[in-house]
């Protein structure tokens, strides 16, 4: 490890001059500059991030507070890390998935703030009370962004799920499907709204496939059990937009068991584009969430905030588009 003083010695100048050259601040004689640069390169100088953090009170680390162990998050993290690393930042991860996680860490947020991260990114369902977090973060003046909270708000990157479902339903209609149903909780939610908007535009009757009180159940089981409401529906749907890929897999299993052909008898469209969608039988047409992009956009916002840029008109709110992935099930 080479330090500033080593370079200074090697180049025959003072530490301050070396620093000046390396940080490109202030006037430096071209000759000295070259000399210093050469020495730095020669000694393979890498600044001590710890010293820098101590001195400036800011680290080059961004902390991601993750709310669940989910394959989709992995992509978000990858996007985030890639974009952040390009700007010289590294990513810290911190799980907050169970109530115990919060206890262990005392207050999760305080544990995170102790490391003086340059910024914080909060993943969905992190068990953190949003309001309190925002207040605390504002107080410590730490840039932050929320990911995929599901409802509009400042300092957030969301996914336009409504539009995703809307487009999928339009696609089904354009491919000759007459009775397009939606499977999922009938309670207020964004995806249902997208379905309803599309159905209305198509001047058709909505068909909601749902079993009572299935909110907290396993999605796969819900999809599987919903075969009954499907079979009972009159007219019987020839297409179903399902809440999620996982629920769609349950529904698919039930359809197979009943000898109902997909997509010939019913078209099925999922949501999420999980790995499973490409592996299902038949391969599942689904709505892709821009997970990687979610990460990179979050990184951009964070970097802008760190750089002290003024909030744009939307006050750091972004909503990203989904995309229909056509496969064999619809």
């Amino acid at each position: 490890m080479a330090f500033l003083k080593d370079i200074a010695a090697a180049a025959g100048v003072s530490i301050r001059t070396v620093s000046r050259v390396l940080k490109q601040s202030g006037y430096v004689n071209e000759a000295t500059r070259t000399k210093v640069m050469a020495a730095a390169k020669q000694l393979d100088y890498r600044p001590s991030l710890a010293a820098r953090a101590l001195k400036t009170g800011k680290s080059f680390e961004v902390t991601a507070i993750i709310g669940s162990v989910d394959e989709l998050h992995m992509e978000k993290i990858a996007g985030l890390e890639q974009a952040l690393r390009a700007a010289g930042y590294s990513v810290h991860i911190f799980f907050s998935t169970t109530p115990a996680d919060r206890q262990d860490a005392g207050d999760v947020l305080d544990a995170v703030l102790q490391r003086q991260p340059a910024a914080i990114i909060i993943f969905p369902n992190s068990l953190l009370p949003v309001k309190k977090v925002k207040a605390r973060l504002a107080e410590t003046n730490t840039p932050y962004v929320f990911l995929d909270t599901g409802h509009a708000g400042t300092n957030t990157v969301n996914i336009d799920r409504q539009q995703g479902v809307y487009e999928a339903v339009k696609y089904l209609a354009a491919h000759g499907r007459r009775h397009i149903a939606y499977m999922g909780s009938p309670n207020n939610n964004t995806r249902l709204a997208g379905y309803e908007r599309a159905i209305k535009e198509l001047c058709r009757e909505p068909i909601i496939l749902a079993t009572a009180g299935n909110t907290q159940q396993d999605q796969y089981e819900v999809g599987r059990k919903n075969i009954e409401t499907f079979l009972a529906a009159n007219p019987r749907p020839d297409a179903v937009q399902v809440f999620s890929d996982v629920m769609a897999m349950g529904f698919l299993a039930a359809l197979h068991e009943h000898g109902i052909a997909v997509p010939d008898d019913v078209a099925v469209v999922g949501f999420d584009n999980r790995r499973v969608a490409a592996l299902a039988w038949p391969r599942l047409t689904t709505v892709m969430q821009p997970n990687r992009e979610l990460g990179t956009v979050a990184a951009e916002i964070l970097l802008s905030k760190i750089a002290g840029r003024k909030p744009p008109a939307d006050d750091w709110y972004r909503i990203l588009s989904t995309k229909l992935v056509q496969r064999d099930s619809a």
Copy 2:
């Protein structure tokens, strides 16, 4: 933010005494101790990790170098983070998935070492030349551990895939299957060895289902195409142990298309216990890898190394057991 000096002032003692109390080192008068503790708590003191890192040359951060964006890694990371956090460490992640990643970071390892991590954990397929890494790491005296390298070696936590396949094949035999085949590359690999060991013990003939030169192809496609070797096999297998869940999904799709019933006509066992296994149709019996445990065991090793403990007899080599997850396909 409260600092040592604030506590010292509040308690009317010197910084040194505060430090002594907080670190529980050396003799401290009980009354002073109480006074200091109270002040620390009152001011919600949290040590500056940056200052500590600068002073000691060691951070409380462990860097994980990740080789691919894979759902299974997410679990490993979760296990790692949980165990490490309990010991006061936090986890840094660093992707090294593409050749570009290496270039961007100059030398990945140097970029990582610059942050003076307390330890490093290297995930499978991280594009890093193992020997060079070990040398560099030994040189900088940084504790490290490799994850799931696939071959025995020191400072490594592996998964006993051979045993996993062995047990699955035995399970199939115990459930009355006569002609148990293995699907996957016929080239030397651990899983195949497990299959061969079991078949030998059962005094049966091995049946290897493979298409030529499929090494680099998409596993799903390989499984799908392998239906041909399956149909051509004589006798036709009534059970197949497939290389991976993904490959099994391809095979399953082909079986469905040929109207071959699972598990009635053929039992199918996958490997990995990915999320997809529980969602497949039929639900896939498969061999579970102890991903979370892999993370926690790696954390234990790292913590031992950090604590300066002497290497045990196995020189930090651990191999973890898999577990058969029975579902509907076998």
